[in-house]
């Protein structure tokens, strides 16, 4: 138990106390008008809350490491995960807000007027959120593993218990102000070390402006070592893989059930528009910093760590080697650690860099607290998406419509515990790096929900048979491609498992459109409801005519 352990643990506990304090304070204050209070939150703060929900262990812990190891090819994650907000804010969020259903299975079930579609959508929600949560658990394993200097597997088990408690006792999720606090902690924890590294290496306090020079310098170092330059495009995959991955991440963002739910707390279509804009601004702060983080980390490793004597490696190497995520081996036996002899996992770059750069106890502890905030806030949201899909959409709406509130709540709690334990089991031996696991969740969302939602909102002719065919074909094609590419070595144009969504989406759009056209059109009422989504709340579409509600009365 060294000082670092105590400092990190105290910062983590202090931030947890802050979140719980805010949750209790708000709950006591606003139980009676919970919904009104929730909707009264200004878009700017709602944007921060969306940011906390959105930025997961993959963004916080995994992304900079992925960019560091993949170079330019890792930037597909940056553009994909931010560009998705264009699709979401233009094509879906305001329209879904007007429709007035907020869980994805509920929208699909009611828009297409089909219980079958509702159940399939609920099952897809569970599969997507489950895959995503494996990434979160393996991320919390890295943080906890380092904190207690134990194997990341044991860390994952502790994370499972934490997350199951956190989500099952719920309440946290609905309270936007807790997430605003989580966002603030998370972004400070991410940006502070980048600024310090920038000062240390370039003397410039603005990393976003200063790291361009470092990227250029690393290109020279790489040429000297005879490896491909850091910024050279498409060295780790084809150009088509880059494009497919970027598309998959964008469309998946627009189709992720737990993100769409966030637009529940906005009041109108206009507020949805503004919340989307503020959310991307706040998310962008982290995404603009991640490539800088990656560049500084790599530069420090190349210039300060590589080339030092194997017997004189600094203390941080030992604690990271213990987690099983770092390997230093003097394979050519010359007593010096070469760049090629240092094998670092994507997932520890963000956590390890503050130690490598010697940024001090406080910054290292802060980064651990930020990583926990990112993993917990997103895992909480995912578990709630899973439990509402199972307890509400499948159990209550389809299986047992007469069940009591109490039964439903206990079904919801048990589904959270079961899902967390199962995800934890898989996370013990994660089938990929955090960003890769999360990319599969996005591929599945791209292949299933993105086509179903876009056609549901923008094409009134799409019907229940069409959406059922689309969801099943999209899910099947995406899953088949992920497995064939990962385990069978099958690829098209060099597109690997993470880019699978592009095939799923094309197949699902085609299936939905063809089957819809071959079967009867949906009822006039449904078609009118879809046309109605073109206009703001005050305008109503009915029987080919548009009415304006100028006295603000609620009945239409």
């Amino acid at each position: 138990m060294d000082t670092q352990f105590l400092v990190s643990l105290s910062i983590i506990l202090a931030t947890f106390a802050l979140y719980i304090g805010i949750a209790i304070y708000n709950k006591a204050k606003a139980t009676s008008d919970f919904y009104v209070a929730g909707r009264g939150i200004p878009p700017i703060f709602n944007g921060m809350a969306i940011g906390a929900d959105w930025m997961s262990a993959a963004s916080f812990i995994g992304m900079a490491g992925t960019i560091m190891l993949l170079g330019y090819d890792g930037l597909a994650y940056i553009m994909g995960w931010t560009g998705g907000y264009l699709l979401l804010t233009f094509l879906l969020a305001p329209q879904l807000r007007k429709y007035g259903r907020y869980t994805v299975p509920e929208f699909i079930g009611d828009r297409y007027n089909s219980h079958t579609a509702r159940v399939i959508a609920a099952i897809c929600t569970i599969i997507i959120s489950f895959t995503y949560s494996i990434g979160q658990l393996s991320g919390s394993g890295v943080v906890i593993g380092r904190l207690f200097e134990i194997d990341a597997k044991l860390g994952t088990m502790i994370g499972v218990v934490l997350i199951a408690f956190y989500a099952a006792f719920g309440g946290m999720k609905g309270i936007t102000w807790t997430q605003v606090a989580q966002y603030v902690i998370l972004i400070i924890a991410y940006i502070v070390p980048v600024i310090f590294m920038s000062l240390q290496i370039t003397g410039n306090p603005a990393p976003w402006l200063s790291y361009g020079e470092i990227v250029g310098k690393m290109g020279e170092l790489d040429r000297e070592l005879g490896i491909s330059e850091y910024f050279a495009p498409f060295t780790n995959g084809t150009k088509w893989q880059f494009i497919a991955l970027m598309f998959t991440l964008m469309a998946g963002t627009a189709g992720l059930p737990h993100v769409i739910v966030r637009f529940y707390t906005v009041s109108t279509m206009k507020a949805a528009r503004w919340s989307g804009a503020w959310a991307l601004l706040f998310i962008g702060l982290l995404y603009l910093s991640a490539p800088a983080y990656a560049a500084f980390s790599r530069f420090i490793l190349m210039t300060k760590v590589a080339g030092s004597k194997i017997t004189e490696l600094p203390g941080w190497t030992k604690s990271w080697v213990d987690t099983g995520k770092l390997q230093v081996a003097d394979s050519n036996g010359d007593g010096i650690l070469q760049w090629s002899e240092l094998i670092i996992s994507n997932d520890i770059v963000v956590m390890a860099t503050p130690e490598i750069a010697n940024l001090g106890l406080f910054v290292i502890g802060l980064v651990a607290a930020g990583a926990m905030a990112a993993a917990l806030s997103t895992a909480g949201g995912l578990m709630i998406a899973i439990s509402s899909a199972f307890a509400h959409d499948i159990f209550y709406r389809v299986l047992k419509p007469n069940s009591t509130e109490k039964t439903r709540l206990s079904v919801a709690r048990w589904s959270i515990v079961t899902a967390t334990l199962l995800a934890g089991l898989i996370a013990l031996n994660p089938p990929g790096a955090i960003t890769q696991i999360v990319a599969w969740a996005f591929a599945l969302a791209t292949g299933t929900f993105f086509p179903a939602l876009v056609l549901g909102v923008w094409w009134r002719r799409s019907n229940s048979q069409g959406v059922i065919a689309g969801l099943l074909v999209g899910l099947g094609v995406t899953l088949a491609y992920i497995f064939a590419a990962k385990y069978g070595g099958f690829t098209i144009l060099g597109i690997i498992d993470t880019g699978a969504g592009v095939f799923g989406a094309v197949a699902a759009f085609a299936a939905n459109i063809i089957v819809s056209l071959m079967t009867a059109a949906p009822s006039q009422k449904i078609q009118d409801e879809v046309m109605d989504l073109r206009y703001p709340e005050q305008m109503t579409y009915k029987n080919g005519e548009v009415w304006i509600n100028d006295d603000g009365s609620k009945s239409v």
């Binding site: 009104v36 909707r39 930037l75 597909a76 940056i78 553009m79 931010t82 560009g83 264009l86 804010t89 233009f90 007007k98 007035g100 259903r101 509920e106 402006l209 361009g212 020079e213 470092i214 990227v215 250029g216 910024f231 495009p233 498409f234 150009k239 494009i243 970027m246 009041s267 109108t268 279509m269 206009k270 528009r273 989307g276 804009a277 991307l280 601004l281 962008g284 603009l288 490539p291 509400h392 073109r534 206009y535 703001p536 709340e537 005050q538 305008m539 109503t540 579409y541 080919g544 548009v546 009415w547 304006i548 509600n549 100028d550 006295d551 603000g552 009365s553 609620k554 009945s555 239409v556």
Partner: protein
């Protein structure tokens, strides 16, 4: 409640759709467009970065953020032009939520 000319309503939808198509085109060029021509563009240097790297790491993200704020601002302007009152939208939509 009063009926409005279908042509006016259609114009509202067309204006918003036209803007959306422009935003998508700009966003597409900044991301997919630059990726497609990454190799020829890498010769240009901006602030120390090769151009394709700059766009991937910063340019595209900044473009997306600007587009979303332009959309929010212009969307408000279009609403005003067609006499849409946000306060009334709030009243109407707070009654339209499916509670359960």
């Amino acid at each position: 409640m009063k009926k409005i000319d279908k042509k006016v309503a259609d114009r509202y939808f067309r204006e918003k759709t036209r803007n959306m198509i422009i935003y998508f085109a700009v966003g597409f060029l900044a991301s997919f467009g630059v990726v497609l021509f990454a190799e020829p563009l890498s010769g240009i240097t901006i602030n120390g970065f090769p151009f394709h790297y700059f766009m991937g790491a910063q340019g595209a993200v900044l473009t997306f953020i600007i587009l979303l704020f332009v959309n929010a601002k212009l969307g408000d302007a279009i609403d005003r032009k067609y006499g849409i009152d946000e306060e009334k939208n709030k009243q109407i939509s707070s009654g339209k939520v499916l509670d359960h």
